[in-house]
């Protein structure tokens, strides 16, 4: 007998709203469907009413965890459009900030993965180690998250001489802890039993479902934007792309853990090699045209497309975030697995639902693909009106007026 289990939209384990409909036969999963958009904020549309400088703060708030990946991708796109070459020091600073972010994001993921399998020690542990990184961000940029470090044509703030030893000290202290953490997880028979051979993704599937980032690398697909389309200063430092072959949850965890160590290596080299010099170049008038920017976010390739009509606001901004690309592979990972592994496999992709929210309008059974500002507003008004009707009698519903 088939049963549908809904997970979400507000589930105690998930921080963000999303809905998975899991169809099971007994203990086994036979199908999965996915709904989202409780978080849709219309960022692409809002960006059209902001100047390039303002849009930078907006794309920073697409997702809180990748709050430097999106700005870098956006800067890359605008710099590609306007043909701007940023100064060397800015390139190194971008690399350092992006790698610090990767460390904090991967640690955050490890903690959440522990939380999902009910192993709260791992959660507390990982987040404890993440805290010094957040403090570093506070020292560098003044904010623990959403650092506002990027600027078109360079970076907004310098990494000062006196901060460099603090960064060095923090990452030096972090490194043995990560080693210890990796050993502890990989030696733990309970963890191994829980993670190994769960949610397997074969290399063919990883390619066919177009996965990116650590998910693809854990299945043996050797891709990394940092190496394949170098931006910032990744082509000037020594590091390697981590891949695994198994494609299960354990492999994803191993990829992420080893990537933290690679990030530490990159930061160390960048701090040593960082040349003195200006932080930004003069930004010329943005010409008519289009630009593409890519960045390897902690979750995979982050892609921004900017179209300009010669004014100081982007004419069109298109964002393709890594989670949106990675989530469809659930269909191949889930089917045949057990109910108890659902959340773990969900977590393995490290999906960030803020990046994945879209909206479509269906008119007489046809999807309407082009919508103007007016259409969108009317749609929103209509929906609010309906909700108002619906919630008339409810306490709190009257407050909608």
């Amino acid at each position: 007998m088939r049963t549908t289990i809904p997970i979400g939209p507000y589930h105690p384990l998930l921080e963000e709203p999303e809905l998975f409909r899991v169809v099971v036969e007994g203990e086994r999963i036979v199908d999965i469907d996915w709904r989202t958009s409780w978080n849709h904020r219309g960022i692409e549309k809002i960006a059209e009413s902001k100047t390039y400088e303002q849009a930078l703060f907006l794309v920073e708030r697409i997702c809180g965890i990748c709050s430097t990946s999106h700005p870098i991708a956006f800067c890359n796109a605008v710099e590609d459009l306007a043909d701007i070459e940023i100064p060397d020091r800015a390139k190194y600073i971008r690399t350092i900030v992006a790698e610090l972010e990767r460390i904090h994001s991967h640690l955050l993921w490890l903690g959440l993965a522990g939380h999902y399998i009910g192993y709260h020690t791992v959660w507390m542990w990982a987040w404890r180690y993440r805290e010094p990184i957040c403090e570093l961000f506070e020292i560098i940029s003044g904010n623990r998250q959403s650092y506002a470090m990027m600027k078109i044509g360079g970076v907004r703030q310098d990494i000062k001489e006196e901060t460099i030893p603090i960064i060095m000290k923090t990452i030096n202290e972090l490194e043995p802890k990560i080693h210890m953490f990796a050993d502890a997880i990989l030696d733990d028979p309970v963890m191994l039993a829980r993670l190994r051979n769960v949610g397997k993704l074969s290399k063919e599937d990883a390619i066919n479902w177009c996965t990116v980032g650590p998910v693809a690398r854990s299945a043996g697909v050797d891709i990394d934007i940092r190496r394949d389309y170098p931006y910032a200063s990744y082509d000037r430092v020594e590091w390697k792309v981590i891949t695994q072959v198994d494609g299960d949850v354990l492999a994803v965890a191993v990829v992420r853990l080893l990537e933290i160590l690679e990030s530490i290596k990159i930061i160390r080299q960048c701090l040593e090699k960082m040349p003195p010099g200006p932080l930004q170049v003069e930004v010329p008038e943005i010409p008519v045209g289009e630009g593409i920017g890519v960045e390897e976010a902690p979750r995979g390739e982050c892609f921004h497309y900017v179209q300009s009509d010669g004014t100081n606001c982007p004419y069109r901004l298109k964002i393709r975030a890594p989670s949106y690309v990675n989530i469809p592979c659930f269909r191949s990972r889930f089917i045949g697995e057990r109910i108890s592994d659902i959340l773990l496999i969900l977590a393995s992709v490290d999906p960030c639902y803020c990046c994945t929210n879209r909206t479509i309008k269906i008119d007489n059974g046809k999807v309407k693909s082009t919508m103007t500002d007016k259409d969108l507003l009317e749609l929103s008004w209509k929906e609010t009106e309906q909700l108002r009707e619906h919630y008339k009698g409810y306490p709190g519903g009257g407050l909608l007026e």
């Binding site: 709203p17 978080n39 219309g42 809002i46 997702c63 803020c354 609010t384 909700l387 409810y394 909608l400």
Partner: protein
């Protein structure tokens, strides 16, 4: 605290000790949610004061709302608010929840939160630091 939920001595006593919180994201960027979780982890560790994130609104004394309240999240916000045992405290966490922040004017926005449900404490910041969140909770408790 909205007027229709008058506090009795009993409920005041009940609310003040180890308040349990439910967290609802209604169109946030994730950062506020992470900082809220961060307040629970070892550095800040609010669990020592008995503050706990619970899985069901029916168990909660405090409702943390983050995000701009999107059209799609609105019905859920109202449902969750109605499920919480009154009196309860509602805390708008982050600039988004307080005013709409950078997303103000979006076609998918209905909020800010205080347009929909009564809010007791506003914690601005994008995202607010865990210290700010803790101080917000303290202020909320002082109101009781």
């Amino acid at each position: 605290m909205s007027d229709n939920h008058k506090l009795t001595d009993m409920s005041r006593w009940g609310l003040k000790k180890s308040p349990w919180a439910f967290h609802l994201s209604t169109g946030s960027c994730n950062n506020c949610d992470i900082e809220l979780l961060d307040a629970l982890t070892p550095r800040f560790d609010v669990e020592r004061f008995g503050i706990l994130l619970v899985g069901s609104p029916r168990h909660a004394d405090i409702l943390f709302v983050t995000g701009i309240v999107t059209v799609q999240a609105l019905p859920r916000l109202i449902h969750v608010y109605n499920q919480i045992a009154k009196p309860c405290l509602v805390i708008a966490l982050g600039t988004c929840a307080c005013t709409g922040g950078i997303f103000d004017g979006s076609y998918h926005q209905i909020g800010p939160v205080d347009k929909i449900i009564p809010v007791d404490v506003y914690i601005p910041g994008c995202p607010p630091k865990p210290e700010a969140i803790i101080s917000g909770v303290v202020k909320a408790l002082a109101k009781i």
